[in-house]
Amino acid sequence: MKDFVKKNWFVSILAVIFVFVSVYYIYDTNKGKLKGKTSGGEDVVYEINGTDVTAAQFYDDMYKNNGIAAVYHAFTRAVAAQAAETTDEMKTLAANQASSIVNNYYSNYGAGYQDQLDSELKSMGYEGYDSLEDYLIDYFKLERIAEEYARDNFDNLTIRNISYLLIKAAGTGADTEEPVISEELQAKLDAVDAMLNDGASFAETAAAFSEDESTASKGGVLGSIDKNTTSLDAAFQEAALALKEGETSDWVYSPAFGYFRIHCNASTPETFTKVFYEQSQVEGVETEYDPDSLAAYEDLLNRYDSTLMMKAVWAKGQDLGVTFTDEKIADGLKNYMAVAE
């Protein structure tokens, strides 16, 4: 070694300088870096008061803090990816909606809009801000899955398209018994009966007499409901779901509202699609009639059955085949999606 250094003194000096520069470079590069820690062979995420919280413990802590929502997002993404195709229509709609969403976020969050969107998308298992359109496309796929599920389970869900008219009864609210019907109230009820018995359509009668301003001008049209719709008065819903298309109920008393007469516009899949199309035409929507359209089910999904999406996605997942290695996660997910038996 001595002889070598003597013979190659210049190279040796260079080597020594190189080693010192390397060591300094490593020190300088690392001094600003975050140092890790392990405990019992596990990575430590953070410590407080001398107690290490390992990544395994942190996983359990995060799971307790609504981790089941993360499981749900992973489940739905997996179903969307395998159970429905991406159509050109979905891509176009996603691009348009993404633009609109970005504008909304900018209005609400200002310069931080991108970070906010990024964070929310990552929390649902997406890569971040750049995957907004992917998220939207997955959502459209899940909507389609839910709409097809509703169509295929029409009778089981007891789907109906309903119209109604309301005669308000004084003293309604917390009362559980029917109030004494005044002469004035009876006269209103009799007038409705007379018009219907004379052969007038339900729509004309509702427009003439209904005291519910939100639907009277539309001929009393409420729209699509099913057995899982929770936003309706219980007496109303029970009566509505018992009707077949073309039928009109007798007077139904609701302590909260008064007296209803309810008309069923559709109780079969074929009529359901047709009636929805006709109602949308009245509201100014310009489309051609398509008997295979799922628009009526989209209405049900978005307005009157908040459980439909989860039930449909779960069912589709079962079709694809679902296995869990942890029963706690399986039970948690079923409860979260309200599909637990």
Partner: protein, 285 residues
């Protein structure tokens, strides 16, 4: 030559070693927890997703709970408050509450324990103010005083007469003239903005011996009757702690104080960045 090559290779390895910020990960990240069709979802996938959704919040909340367990006494009163809240949620949400517990995989007892920890955590700022009372009072100069605000000077004059001759209390005056103030003593600090500067200035320059005094607002559109009840900060400690604990800068100071006291330290760069974004005062690294 061979030795030189070994030397250079070692140097290159050293150069590339330890150049990254630390990231913590679970050992069994590849363990499958669920399979949907052909898609396998692993613990690692779930860890990353939960981290993005609530990593910083979880670390901060759990650390706050750990600090509270050491600083705040767990009293029967706190347990009763948690029990009361639990009963309310069960009554209000009914079956949905049970479903939530099942989804989260926690029992009712565990949920109640979380509530207790949360209540204890909410008392940390008060503890800080209490522990550092003299220092905090040096910053906020609390005084206990009673203030009554009148839109009309003649009412203020009439009320002042009654207060001075003892024929009415401040609470009675408040009711008689339908005033916004209740007539009870309150804590006035340098942060108090609810009264005109003239009234606040008079309070700060007065003593208990000055009794009831009248002063007009700076704009001359309101009249104040003020009385300093107490200037000894130890005489109204509980009330002052409650008032000062509500100030945002004090909450920040308390946060910084406790996280530093209990050496909160993060060993994962993603968590560090997330905590820096959410609660930078918690960091001392």
């Amino acid at each position: 030559m061979k030795k030189i090559n070994i030397l250079f290779a070692s140097a290159l390895i050293l150069l590339s070693a330890g150049c990254k910020d630390a990231k913590a990960g679970i050992k069994d990240g590849k363990t499958e927890i669920m399979k949907v069709g052909s898609t396998s979802i692993t613990k690692g996938d779930l860890y990353r997703q939960m981290f993005a959704a609530s990593g910083a919040d979880t670390a901060l909340a759990n650390s706050s709970n750990a600090i509270a367990a050491l600083e705040i006494e767990r009293t029967a009163e706190i347990e009763e408050e948690a029990e009361s809240s639990l009963s309310f949620y069960k009554m209000y949400y009914g079956d949905q509450f049970d479903s939530y517990l099942k989804s989260a995989g926690i029992s009712e007892e565990e949920y109640k324990e979380q509530m207790i920890q949360s209540i204890m955590g909410s008392k940390l700022t008060g503890k800080y103010v209490g522990d550092e009372y003299e220092t905090v009072c040096g910053s906020y100069n609390p005084i206990q005083a009673t203030v009554l605000e009148f839109p009309a000077e003649e009412d203020a004059d009439a009320a002042l007469s009654k207060l001075k001759d003892g024929t009415a209390t401040a609470a009675e005056i408040s009711q008689e003239y339908v005033l916004t103030q209740s007539g009870s003593p309150e804590i006035i600090t340098i942060n108090t903005l609810s009264y005109d500067a003239s009234a606040l200035s008079l309070i700060r320059s007065s003593s208990k011996d000055d009794g009831w005094q009248k002063i007009a607002s700076s704009a001359g559109d309101k009249w104040y009757l003020v009385q300093v009840n107490e200037t000894d900060i130890n005489a109204f400690k509980d009330e002052a702690v409650k008032t000062i604990s509500g100030y945002s800068e004090v909450i920040n100071d308390a946060t910084s104080y406790f996280y530093k006291k209990y050496n909160f330290h993060v060993y994962d760069i993603d968590l560090l960045n997330a905590v820096r974004e959410k609660e930078p005062l918690a960091l001392n690294q």
